[in-house]
Symmetry: C2
Subunit: 439 residues, 2 copies
């Protein structure tokens, strides 16, 4: 389920709703009322039918059931382990700053201030960590997530893959100016055949492919059916794995003209990383990140019917391990007393790409941003850049504030435009507080 | 895939083949030639079609592909974690006895002796550990299994569940003389409605249910289709989860007359354990075994479409953790400096049940054995009892020899009758050697 869908709710309507009071108006149940533990999903042997969450009937992706699903992804799909190996865990020091709860901000398009604590609930947060100068200053778990538990990262997965690709570029193993078909001749006749690796990395390919979450005829659904992640209709004759689907994607317009958020780019990039590395993505993730970084929990990634990792959104990891990854980025690629990725890779990601290309995509909550190496770059005063996944998965790296925020959530709607008004200004307010109160 | 199938290959034919030379005659590829690493299953991004193992086309359960599948079960099915928790690992001391390789035995029905080392290969072993007096004296990994890896336990799972049930009986939480329907009223109108808990534990229920692995019309396949573990045909209108299937099983004959190995008994028992414990089986396994025993690796168990654990054969665990479990049994329920289960439970399992009831089932490789609490009891001079799973999964506890042997395998054929001739006498020979050479 790696479909972002900025178009799934008209943005202006969403903003208006958020501005008038809160997300409670979008759905009946607010963050507290929809708490999956209180609601009792999947409790009992067997759970009663009205409290059973299933893949087959799509209830797993229906609100409020998805509040359970996102913390139980491996119970829905085949997954492959991303091993942390046998090394010691790199502990994250704690220095709790309870005062953060009272930090106040004005939601985007709003008229009434909100506290940080309120925003945590308003965003249907499952878990959130704020790190400042390398220490955890705030850590909360809500919903069905526990500190040791894993949560689906959705499209935050893409930023891991983009970082791997950028690292391979820095190491001279992947040439961003080469055509994708140089590395993946299987894609020669597809839209990706004459796209460069760089265009795929920055999602500036011109594709005849729609990613509209609310439209069952959208190509994004055709992809997941091909991958075997959703049931196929009787008499289905389409591709039966993710890579075969990628071969069928056709071109629309020219490459390199504009940013267009289409998850198949990330799938191609995951394929490229595997091909160039000569091993499955899960193994690359383990060797490059989970092992050397001293991660706390083995992670896993959802796979398709052929065992290929779903690079656009299949990663499941613990919140603290996401914090470790994002702290590594904030620290110029250094973590656990070693250089995990070259500092130049981090600097290049933080620099972002063309704002003009990005503006064409019309993200109203992200003015002046760009998209580079599968990261969302704010170009704001904090130098912040983000990994973002549908339903509120987020990693916000703010180098100038020496701050990182990671969040897992299970918002009722997919599009992050619904969460941005109560998230982006909240992150900035917390950064301002921490800079003003360095301790 | 928890179907045992003693009838899948006529026993006398299998024995004759084994007697004449070895399992190489049953299949083209022997243990070495079928090595899944050498064969290169699932290598490449993507693996070439002729080296891809898939669930959809059933290739995962075809030899030699199954040699890969059994060490990669979570990549095929949804699974739920059985957590080892945060406690320290209980180390298993090593005292390698290389001499075991040369221990010689006569295969059942054979005329030519075989060495232990030869038997390891002949049985398509993926991993094997011999423990003597609490120390690992022999440990080998072949095939696709690594020391840290997990392997499908097949019906060895049942013995974990049977041990849990027997423990609940000892604690007075489960009455073996009660009808199953006392605890599970949902099963009132099924064959299990008027069966006692004891009859389910010892598989002496009279069921109109066939478990013939080579017959696609066998009820065992209907069960796995209901559970969602195999694709359902178009227009399928049967039950859509494992518990609903159990409700449909009808009675044949009378309960309590004879042993009949039918996996649905274990599924009912798993349901009973969950119901009486008030929590999912995976959680019970974690709290009762994985946590307190100091297990080395988180395990997992395959689940059905409703999230219910497949108690008859879904457990995936590391070989060393299986060794820990079986050593706990050998040590009167004591392990990791604590009493894991009551000593009385172990003593009762070792005592077995009615040999006469067992004999009616006609297992030619297991004369004089019985079946009790989901364990196979040899009543031999070593006091040995076994957990057994199709394709060669085994745990052989020999209290009189202070020895435990655990084995994961991926034999070409399901029925353990094919492996017994080169396994059971080999276990006894190793026990004799260790007793004769106590150091």
């Amino acid at each position: 389920m790696k479909m972002s869908s900025r178009r799934s709710v008209p943005l202006l309507i969403a903003l208006a709703l958020l501005a008038s009071s809160a997300t409670a108006q979008v759905q009946t149940l607010d963050g507290k009322a929809s708490d999956p533990i209180t609601m009792g999903w999947m409790v009992g042997s067997p759970p009663p039918p009205e409290r059973t969450v299933r893949l087959e009937d799509m209830s797993f992706l229906t609100f409020p059931q998805l509040r359970w699903s996102f913390s139980h992804w491996r119970e829905l799909y085949p997954t492959v382990e991303i091993s942390k190996g046998e090394g010691p865990v790199k502990a994250l020091p704690h220095a709790e700053r309870k005062a953060l709860d009272a930090v106040t901000f004005m939601p985007l398009g709003g008229t009434k201030p909100m506290t940080w604590e309120q925003s945590v609930l308003a965003n249907y947060t499952d878990g959130i960590i704020v790190m400042h100068k390398g220490k955890i200053v705030y850590e909360r778990y809500l919903g069905a997530l526990k500190p040791q538990g894993l949560h689906i990262a959705q499209s935050v997965t893409k930023s891991f893959v983009g970082t791997l690709a950028a690292t391979l570029v820095a190491e001279g193993k992947l040439d961003p100016n080469m055509l994708v078909s140089h590395y993946l001749p299987e894609l020669k006749t597809s839209a990706f055949g004459d796209a460069t690796v760089r265009q795929v990395m920055d999602m500036t390919t011109g594709l005849n492919y729609t990613e509209i979450y609310t439209d069952p005829n959208s190509d994004a659904f055709a992809f997941v059916r091909a991958a075997g992640s959703l049931p196929r209709p009787a008499g289905y004759t389409g591709p039966t794995n993710s890579y075969d689907y990628l071969k069928t994607v056709k071109k629309a317009g020219e490459h390199g003209q504009a940013f267009g958020y289409k998850s198949v780019n990330a799938e191609v990039l995951g394929w490229l990383v595997s091909r160039v590395s000569g091993k499955p993505l899960a193994e690359v993730m383990s060797e490059r990140f989970w092992g050397p970084m001293g991660m706390e929990r083995d992670a896993n990634i959802q796979i398709d019917t052929n065992g290929s990792a779903l690079a656009a959104g299949g990663l499941n990891l613990s919140l603290r391990d996401l914090a470790r990854f994002c702290e590594m980025m904030r620290s110029g690629g250094r973590f656990n007393d070693r250089q995990i990725i070259p500092a130049s890779v981090v600097a290049d990601i933080a620099n972002g790409a063309s704002k003009a290309d990005f503006a064409k995509a019309g993200y109203q909550t992200l003015p002046g941003w760009s998209y580079h190496d599968q990261w969302w770059v704010s170009h704001n005063r904090l130098g912040a850049y983000m990994a973002r996944g549908v339903y509120g998965q987020a990693c916000y790296v703010a180098p100038k504030a020496e701050m990182t925020i990671v969040r897992f959530a299970s918002f009722p709607l997919a599009a992050n435009a619904n969460l941005d008004p109560t998230s982006l200004p909240a992150y900035e307010a917390v950064a301002d507080y921490l800079m003003a109160h360095p301790n």
